[in-house]
Symmetry: C2
Subunit: 382 residues, 2 copies
């Protein structure tokens, strides 16, 4: 397989874009990534998106964004894996370059939620769960978050306050990210007194759905050295899945897909969790941050929250997470999120993370779909 | 790039499956393909689907079908390119094998339309067009078919009857396909007297939307020889796009994406249209059959209908098309169609096409999205 590099990154603000449509956001991010890479054309475009069909009645986003960006008649396809769709598009782009089929590829994640009412958005978000056995019974994504968090508290004997550091850390980091939806730190007290969304999931335990788009330019090693001052190498790209319905899993507190895709990624890169300098994880709920840390080998089962309480997830900690705000503070534009994570990882590895800059060489991004039935892991190297 | 082979095929009947849900259909086709290949497990699954989110509120079909088929925690992602989604999933599978990332891959196309009312299905089908500039103005897919057919008749000076051979040929071939939705031949008189859907598009000019699933097992050359008595080689896999909105195209009667993806495919395979023994084209409307033949070099501009009138598209003709019924008689289960085309092509190349069997070595399948903004072309060899 041909080595794959990221040579360009671009993103729009995550948030509410009342004056931009889905195609506008996608094109903005794509053109920013192309400009960053210093190229005017690519051969292939993969678009990650979860809900354009449901919310704005638009399919065939591949051709649409190729068309509206002026890239012309290039290969273009949409990839979907619920809120891991952005990472799925990156996976497709990786395969296109690794196979030799394409030399230059754009992977773009885009989502537009503010064109639909919030009830429709919440319902559509839940389509990442099992429609016949979960959603049809009235289960929603926040309710799943509540079930998992309650179970975690019960089984591991921790209180709600054990999850506060995930929210506090994300918002502290988001404060220094000009693209983040929320750029203000929050206190532990604010977390403790926040309103309930789905008990015990409070307002600061769930990532806000929003609009946004992010894009990366991928290419093979030889072109990477020509194009980028600081090419970022994709050392691993791995996907795994799990039972979709929570009730079908032997152990709901074990994210099997996250675990298996991380193992595959570690094997591809020839590294282990101790080699990873930062981890952009899928904190759609604060309990998912704890479970992701455990699934990927950064904490023992039941000790994911300890990493937060011990200050190990902060910028100075042992395994910094959500370094640009995570889903929680940057915002969670569903099908765009997987690309945002990788763009932020690339910012860190290129030394462009501003006030949040880490001393780092190897980073991992992991995107989850729904309650974790699809997990897509990428390891990047400076 | 590693050579890619098809070593297993499977399909359900195309039609109205009132007693099977989307996941049932997908699993049926996948297990049939695995059984045909003689394998119990694959490493990767790509699912082509257009409308599961819109019609049955289900995203993340990759994980869902991996789960329900018993394939476990394998890599799984959905690909979408409107009604070319099945072919998009095949393209993904091709890249996974060609890159060396996976040795054994399932590509499955699946669609379930009968769980929604027909108005919702028609509206959702139209999401393959430009939502902001076409659908929002009331344009529907049948209306686009009508505009293109009227323009063809006007510009090339032919009457409605010039399109009759496409419908007659498809239904004649569908009569011998036990998986086809319609298994009765029709006469030229029946075509002439059929009711109008969107003048001049009559009932026999438009493919019926329906339920269905089809799947293929892909693998690399070395495994192919072990596994299959008659492995079918994927000689080319190519995607191109065009402006999505019809009004943005310089020449609406020229299918640019179809033309460019065919050119790419010919170049990859080192062949030309004269080498192709049969062509499974995207006859969503009979005018699309004529335009596809022209775009891919089988007829000069304005002479696609001549091939039908001269008997050249039949099983004994120069370039047989829709040899198992095409979209018109087999049925058009949207996101599944691209895989049905390739399954039927493989049936021909393996000598398993029954009464419709051709003497053939090289075949081409081309799947189009919406009014042709995405075109995905595969060339297969016995």
């Amino acid at each position: 397989m041909i080595d794959v590099y990221i040579v360009g990154i671009g993103q729009t603000n995550a948030g509410e874009h009342w004056d931009r449509s889905l195609r506008d956001l996608g094109v903005d991010a794509m053109l920013a990534a192309l400009q960053d890479a210093g190229v005017g054309q690519v051969e292939t475009l993969y678009v990650g998106n979860m809900l354009a069909g449901e919310l704005v009645a638009q399919a065939q986003l591949g051709a649409l964004l190729a068309d509206w960006s002026g890239l012309g008649c290039i290969e273009a396809i949409r990839a979907e894996a619920a809120d891991a769709s952005g990472a799925a598009a990156l996976r497709m782009g990786y395969l296109a370059v690794a196979s030799g089929a394409s030399d230059l590829v754009l992977a773009c994640g885009v989502e537009k939620t503010t064109d639909a009412d919030s009830e429709s958005v919440d319902q559509a978000w839940s389509s990442g769960m099992d429609g016949e056995y979960e959603t049809s019974q009235g289960l929603s994504m926040p309710a799943v978050g509540g079930l998992l968090m309650r179970r975690y508290m019960h089984e591991h004997g921790v209180g709600r306050e054990a999850f506060a550091p995930f929210a506090v850390n994300a918002h502290a980091n988001g404060a220094n990210n000009p693209y983040a939806m929320f750029q203000r730190p929050i206190s532990i007290e604010a977390y403790a007194h926040s309103g309930m969304v789905a008990d015990p999931v409070g307002m600061f335990d769930v990532a806000p759905l929003c609009d946004g788009a992010a894009a990366v330019v991928l290419c093979a090693a030889d072109r990477a050295r020509e194009l980028a001052a600081k090419p970022v190498r994709v050392r691993a790209s791995a996907v795994a899945t799990d039972r979709v319905a929570l009730h079908s899993r032997t152990d709901p507190l074990s994210l099997q897909a996250a675990h298996l895709s991380a193992l595959k990624a570690y094997a591809q890169a020839g590294v282990g969790p101790h080699d990873i300098d930062l981890f952009e994880l899928h904190d759609s709920f604060s309990v998912m941050a704890a479970l992701s840390l455990e699934a990927c080998g950064f904490a023992e089962r039941g000790h994911g929250t300890d990493l937060g309480l011990d200050g190990e997830i902060g910028l100075q900690g042992r395994i910094p997470i959500s370094t640009m705000g995570g889903l929680k503070a940057r915002g969670h534009p569903l099908g765009a999120t997987g690309i945002y994570q990788v763009v932020e990882l690339a910012q860190q590895l290129r030394g462009e993370a501003g006030a949040n800059q880490l001393d780092c060489r190897l980073g991992m991004a992991q995107s989850l779909a729904g309650s974790g039935a699809t997990a897509i892991t990428h390891i990047l190297e400076a």
